[in-house]
């Protein structure tokens, strides 16, 4: 393995270290930092698909939703085994979202560009109506796990899970998704995705099995989405409602974060997630009610000024400098 190619993880680790230090040392900062980390994780996971392939999946939130239910089902059914229900939930979350991505990908990833986007737009809504309609996993009433968790894990442990462990797991998921991204970028798969993003027909003639590589990126991205749903939602909030976890709103946020930071870059989702999370959080504190009215024009201005995202801009500016090894 060529460790030099992993250098861009160093600035990322530095930012994470600063965030964690602030969260632990400044009173009342743990929750805001956890909030930013959710958006960083969301961007990092979605970037593996949107950024690397150039395909937009409007149904992406369905993977988070299924991951959330995976963890919920594990807590409901395996909590008699004690804390081991959490790792079971994590495995189940990944399995469920990966299975869905295989099903969606096998059909929709044969479509090109906008057709793919349209084909995926109904996936999350479809799941929501399925869960509500056939009263699957509690139907519209969702899963309320807090009482259940307190009874089996104890009050202390439940609090620890939802106020600390869940957030730490989200940080780990975000970082793992970044490691997966750079591992892909450094491999043949990264070059295959770059080629198909630029010109899919030419890529095919160059010997690249485009469907295979798109599905690989899709599954990886979906797996991380499942982990985010399981940790940032189920474990942290201790409840699941279908209208929340299948809400297209999160897909749109993920798209904004990836575009803001720089699609297909390693550090972009971190920058995008941080900026988006910071602005959304502090605007809602200072201008409650009209925060989105202020946020939207700022986002539009950034995207117009930096069409390749902030990281895309930084990369271009540092192209021939020694810094470029650390920025990707």
């Amino acid at each position: 393995m060529n460790l030099r190619a992993y250098k861009p993880l160093i600035p990322m680790m530095a930012v994470y270290a600063i965030l964690i230090a602030i969260a632990l040392s400044v009173e009342g900062m743990w929750q805001p930092v956890a909030y930013f980390m959710f958006y960083i994780a969301l961007g990092q996971a979605f970037n593996i698909f949107l950024g690397l392939t150039g395909y937009v999946d409007f149904g992406y939130v369905a993977f988070l939703g299924l991951g959330a239910y995976g963890m919920g089902i594990a807590i409901q059914n395996f909590s008699h085994l004690g804390v081991i229900a959490i790792p079971i939930g994590i495995v189940l979350a990944v399995m469920m979202s990966v299975l869905l991505s295989l099903a969606v990908g096998a059909v929709a990833l044969r479509l090109r560009g906008a057709y793919f986007a349209i084909a995926t737009i109904g996936v999350n809504e479809g799941f929501r109506y399925l869960v509500e309609g056939v009263r699957l996993w509690g139907g519209t009433e969702g899963m309320i796990l807090s009482g259940f968790m307190r009874k089996t894990f104890g009050r202390e442990m439940t609090n620890f899970f939802s106020t600390f462990l869940a957030d730490v797991l989200v940080i780990i998921v975000a970082f793992s998704a970044a490691v997966a991204t750079i591992a892909i970028l450094n491999r043949k798969m990264g070059y295959a995705l770059l080629a198909l993003r630029e010109d899919e027909d030419a890529a095919k003639v160059m010997g690249i099995n485009v469907t295979k590589y798109k599905i690989m990126a899709f599954i990886t991205s979906a797996g991380f989405a499942g982990l985010i749903g399981a940790t940032a939602w189920t474990l942290k909030l201790t409840y699941i409602f279908p209208e929340d976890v299948f809400n297209i709103h999160y897909t749109v946020e993920a798209i904004v974060i990836v575009m803001l930071g720089g699609a297909g870059t390693l550090l972009g989702p971190m920058i995008g997630g941080l900026i988006y999370g910071l602005m959304k959080y502090y605007l809602s504190v200072t201008f409650p009610g009209i925060q989105l009215l202020i946020l939207a024009p700022i986002l539009i201005a950034i995207v117009v000024a930096f069409p390749d995202g902030l990281m895309g801009y930084i990369k271009k500016k540092t192209r021939n400098s020694p810094l470029s090894e650390y920025l990707r």
């Binding site: 770059l194 630029e198 030419a202 003639v205 010997g207």
Partner: protein
């Protein structure tokens, strides 16, 4: 040994028969020119060989295998490589990365580091090594053409399909490209099929055999000098003698 064999290949688009029952054989290491006016079916023929289109009738045999319905990406490892008339670089990648992608996914199937090293060799060979770190979309059309040739060569094909690759090149560049092509034919027995609409002089110096296409059919096929002096060819295509 026969490398490529087309048997009665036909491709229709609606009412138009773009390629009409064409037979073609190419030997290992051979240099063939495919000439014909615009719309004569040359590009469709290339697309059938490279797998972009599946013919409505007929068979495509490459290296003893029937590849008629094989998808394009599965043909490349067998030893096919092509360039495009309008170059299709992977724009945001560097020139070096573009060529390395050829080495990674072509017959050579190299890993990333090996492919990047290999790319340097081919860039030097073609003479565009100084452009290696430039984004491919920033190249001039002519530079893109050189890059595409380097990319196709890096795939280490058994058969190289060139689409107007020498158009717009300086005569000294044409000399250089012809020399490179002759070298890979000699040393690696690569068959080179070169499609040309204009630039008859380059083809007369390079190809051993010429196929003239006209309205989707093979009009004449044979030794370059003979074919280009054939009265039918002069009538439908050349308008006057070229050699």
């Amino acid at each position: 040994m026969t490398l490529l064999k087309l048997e009665k290949v036909t491709k229709r688009f609606g009412g138009l028969t773009a390629v009409d029952s064409v037979d073609l054989e190419v030997e290992e290491g051979e240099a063939i020119g495919i000439v014909g006016p615009n719309g004569s079916g040359k590009t469709t023929l290339y697309n059938i060989i490279s797998g972009v289109y599946i013919p409505d009738e007929g068979r495509v045999i490459f290296d003893g295998k029937d590849i008629t319905t094989l998808p394009p990406h599965a043909r490349t490892p067998l030893g096919l490589a092509r360039t495009f008339q309008i170059p299709r670089p992977f724009g945001s990648a560097t020139v070096r990365e573009n060529v390395a992608i050829g080495a990674m996914f072509g017959r050579a199937s190299m890993d990333v580091e090996e492919a990047l090293k290999e790319a340097d060799e081919y860039l030097k060979l073609i003479g565009i090594h100084q452009l290696r770190d430039k984004e491919a979309r920033l190249l001039t059309p002519l530079e893109k053409r050189f890059m595409e040739l380097a990319r196709a060569l890096a795939m280490r094909p058994k058969m190289l399909l060139l689409d107007e690759v020498m158009a717009g090149m300086h005569p000294s560049d044409i000399d250089k490209i012809i020399e490179i092509l002759q070298k890979i034919r000699r040393d690696e027995h690569v068959a080179v099929v070169s499609m040309v609409e204009h630039l008859m002089h380059a083809i007369t110096r390079f190809a051993e055999r010429v196929v003239v296409m006209h309205q989707g059919k093979k009009l004449v096929e044979g030794e370059t000098a003979k074919v280009l002096n054939d009265p039918r060819v002069i009538e439908v295509y050349l308008g006057k003698k070229v050699m």
